[in-house]
Symmetry: C2
Subunit: 380 residues, 2 copies
Amino acid sequence: MEFASVEETLRKYIPENELVEVNRVLYGKPCRPLKIPDQAQSLSKDKIFELQGYEVPNVSTQSPRKVTIGLIQNQIVAPTDAPIPDQIEKLHKRIGDITEAAALCGVNILCFQEAWTMPFAFCTREKTPWTDFAESAEDGPTTKFCQQLSKKFNMVIISPILERDSTHGGVLWNTAVVISNTGSVLGKTRKNHIPRVGDFNESTYYMEGDTGHRVFQTAFGKIAVNICYGRHHPLNWMMYGVHGAEIVFNPSATVGALSEPMWPIEARCAAIANHYFTCAINRVGTETFPNEFTSGDGKAAHKDFGHFYGSSYVAAPDGTRTPGLCRTRDGLLVTTVDLNMCQQISDKWCFRMTARHDMYADALKESTSHDFKQNLIKEK
Amino acid sequence: MEFASVEETLRKYIPENELVEVNRVLYGKPCRPLKIPDQAQSLSKDKIFELQGYEVPNVSTQSPRKVTIGLIQNQIVAPTDAPIPDQIEKLHKRIGDITEAAALCGVNILCFQEAWTMPFAFCTREKTPWTDFAESAEDGPTTKFCQQLSKKFNMVIISPILERDSTHGGVLWNTAVVISNTGSVLGKTRKNHIPRVGDFNESTYYMEGDTGHRVFQTAFGKIAVNICYGRHHPLNWMMYGVHGAEIVFNPSATVGALSEPMWPIEARCAAIANHYFTCAINRVGTETFPNEFTSGDGKAAHKDFGHFYGSSYVAAPDGTRTPGLCRTRDGLLVTTVDLNMCQQISDKWCFRMTARHDMYADALKESTSHDFKQNLIKEK
């Protein structure tokens, strides 16, 4: 039997009155189901993807700043040995279809998964043919494709791709392109922390990002993108908040055996600690590659990375989170939030006011010195 | 019906084969139940407190550094209008009994809850009589009491109290005293972040701590104490790790309506992010005070702070956590861990290696300037 999600298992077995309490502790305030338009429902049925919608409850204010966020998680479409233009084209088509449903649901800001135009081939350590998936962030075919969608649907789109920067030696980066609802490229932001764990051999392909912690002022709110492994780094989350982000997207690619128990924790803790919304997106399914590779764990060579477990969700500054999308299927999660909640919760909990950043800036600086001595108290 | 814990509800209703998967996502690797000695079992029955014991599994190494941690959560014993020496004496007696059970279970390091010798009276905003609970950290009666226990049981004890520092103007602090297994006072460490939320009116009584991020080198490992509201501050957790902590205790006092959905998230996220063990301890029960007070929420004056929900737990660097103690009753949680796991997980996941602390120290410093400008990207 397929294990679709923790939420589904809880719902199946726990009596309603007790489920209320369990859900309160595990998920915070109950998110209200959104009314999904019939046309979007049909599309999700025809095109076979899960469609869930929620509104995060907030104490009402005189002028709520409601924004509807869309997150897409998906499997690759063509096999990994298909010609690369075919693989990209089929993903464009697939994501185009799901984006149409997002538009029908009134999504204002839509984010795709990390390196969405390709399989997550970095496990192979092969340069060929995978680096051929790289594109210009400014005017590559994927950016152009997203610009059309953005303009057509009046939607901000975050498009995480493998970038080739031809202006600076043609090197590769793991980059998110942010496209305004007008269809123009607002800018790009790069992955700040590159993993060296399990089969995540990305440091073979690209370096730590050099774009800092930019925040993009869109028509629908101030947003930032913390790509994948950056979710393990509290300072990375923090600096997006310092630069004013109200929503931080975390497009990711991560597999079950390695990280699944951490997944519900980290992006949600960041939402709490930084008084903003976070959006955790993970790809789905198992991707099989033409040539075998090893994993530095003594086990036999193999051709896949393991199961990407989806489970995308949105977390709010008060610790409330939506249920996750399914662990096994393509999906679109639509979430309406009130951005006023960021300031409201900051005023209530005061984590920013009590953060003592000046003390930590000095302490951290001192700790990076080669002469640093730990403050260890020993018995005399 | 009493809602004792999420864990108990899951165990009650979800079939075993599906519970394995749910628990894997929610709690990480399964913790092995510890064999609890009969004498300790009897004591927990006679004295009416919950006793749970676990071992956090680890990939074995040639020389495991096994340490057994004890956490105590408890209600106050005497009513809040009893004479203060009575209130303290009854708590000493109660904690002495539970400590005996901890000793029988082989606990090496034992931590009590925040301000354990008193009710959490800071909601009242009254100075009298509550400041009379304050004691010297170095040689107050509670420190002396703990020194006896430490020496008798060869146990490190962490004793969080309301401190009066007579050497420096007699001001109050929220302080944890760390007592070596030899019975000598290793030192003290103060609460770094003081809340201004809900009924947590502690800023009326004491200021932000001035003892930095000391780590105590004990016979059983390097430990630090992040008191209560400091758990909301990722930089606070981080600096204890920078100074070498292997276990960080988080003695707390927090109530259901406010923080319960955040409780399982924050200390656990800190364990993951910093490659060390964390121990979250919360008091239990509802404390009623003689005089009524208001909460700045427009509601009628009342005499209690709400329900302290216990739920104390231990989290490991790989994201694994123990089940929590009960939400409603006194309890002792005994957890055996292998401290080698800190370095093992650091070598595996590399969060420290990839943390870019130098970049963040500079960025953070710059952001505290009055001339700081956020890096906001706007459409041209």
